[in-house]
């Protein structure tokens, strides 16, 4: 088997992965959270799982009368639920910033709202995108109707 060919294939995979991820390094934690959510991943559930695993490791160390490493403590602190404030002041401040970020993020308006609207009206939108937009429009109308019916 050609090792060179295998390495070439792996190199292509890595280069393509780097290409897909370009620009992600500058995203904030809130933006990463949103991007994962949009891709179908539940980031809160992932974080909660990591928090639980880190706590179990720490518990095992304490039971064996061993010191819990700084990294493990940092993992527990930085993956706590947003309402659970860490003991470390720096981690506590970061947790509060993140909590506030999550609190405000759903209200962010798209920067190019008008452009999107104009683009749709030109008729240049592909059929798939048009179907998506029509579906979203119907969904929004239904929610507004339900909301107004509930209020009256």
């Amino acid at each position: 088997m050609s090792k060179r060919k295998t390495e070439k294939l792996f190199d292509e995979i890595r280069r393509l992965a780097d290409c897909f991820g370009e620009g992600e390094e500058k995203l904030t934690v809130e933006e990463l959270h949103e991007q994962l959510r949009q891709s179908g991943v539940d980031p809160d559930e992932l974080r909660a799982r990591l928090h639980l695993a880190a706590k179990q490791f720490a518990e095992r160390e304490r039971t064996a009368d061993r010191r819990v490493s700084d990294l493990l403590n940092q993992a527990i602190d930085s993956t706590r639920p947003p309402t659970d404030i860490p003991r470390d002041p720096a981690a506590a401040r970061k947790a509060m910033d993140r909590w506030l970020g999550w609190f405000s993020s759903p209200f962010r308006m798209p920067e190019n709202l008008e452009v999107c609207r104009a683009y749709r009206k030109t008729g240049e939108v592909s059929k798939d995108d048009l179907d998506d937009l029509n579906r979203l429009e119907q969904e929004l109308k239904r929610k507004v109707k339900e909301e107004s019916e509930r209020k009256t």
Binding site: R15, G23, L32, L36, Q38, S78, A90, K94
Partner: protein, 208 residues
């Protein structure tokens, strides 16, 4: 001054996105998994990598003093390398179906033939490799039918003469648009490819 603590939520999110990028890349090189990925989703892979790093009983992934005090950025960079290695090890063991087949299909048996990553890398000579690459490219592009702006961007990245690694800046110049627009389009491309990878290519996985 002491380094700020490592933010493992950020590490987890960045590694998950990286694992998604690797799965998308796998689709682009023309491989779809022969079996459903099950517990090996991007988030699980990222989680396992971090757990190995944190678990005091697992010495296989540990922070070296030589790297200096750990920071979020440094830990992400280190664990990305670990995840990349684990991803390939995992995929090496899996059976794949190629997304394209060269020549005519003589039988069902041939259509259902499966390969490992090593088979794929080794089992083709240079002339055949070019033909397969072209067909793989067509298959990937076909997944973007109905989304011309994304199709064009993917076509630029997957040049038949060799996979191109245009930067977002270069792509923005080529397409006379902004880097922000390119980033948005790449996000959509990655989402489509990640879904294809997760579904084992079934959504559009017909042979060409």
């Amino acid at each position: 001054m002491a380094e700020p603590p490592v933010d493992f939520t950020e590490v987890l999110y960045r590694l998950t996105l990286y694992a998604q990028s690797l799965s998308s890349a796998l689709v682009c090189v023309g491989l779809r998994e022969g079996v459903l990925p099950g517990g090996e989703a991007a988030g699980d892979l990222a989680m396992e990598t971090i757990k190995r790093f944190l678990d005091p009983a697992d010495g296989s992934v540990a922070w070296s003093e030589k790297k200096g005090p750990p920071t979020t950025t440094k830990v992400v960079a280190y664990l990305k390398k670990v995840l990349y290695r684990d991803f390939l090890d995992l995929k090496k063991k899996k059976r794949f179906r190629t997304t394209v087949y060269v020549g005519t299909h003589e039988s069902d048996e041939e259509e259902n033939q499966e390969f490992t990553l090593d088979d794929v890398a080794a089992g083709i000579d240079d002339a055949e490799e070019q033909v397969i690459k072209r067909e793989q490219r067509e298959w990937v592009l076909k997944q973007f039918d109905g989304k011309p702006e994304l199709r064009e961007l993917v076509a630029l990245q997957l040049d038949p003469e060799g996979y191109k690694a245009f930067s977002n800046q270069e792509l923005a110049e080529l397409k006379s648009t902004t880097v922000q627009e390119i980033e948005k389009m790449k996000k959509r491309i990655k989402r489509i490819l990640t879904k294809l990878a997760a579904s084992g290519g079934r959504e559009g996985g017909e042979s060409v």
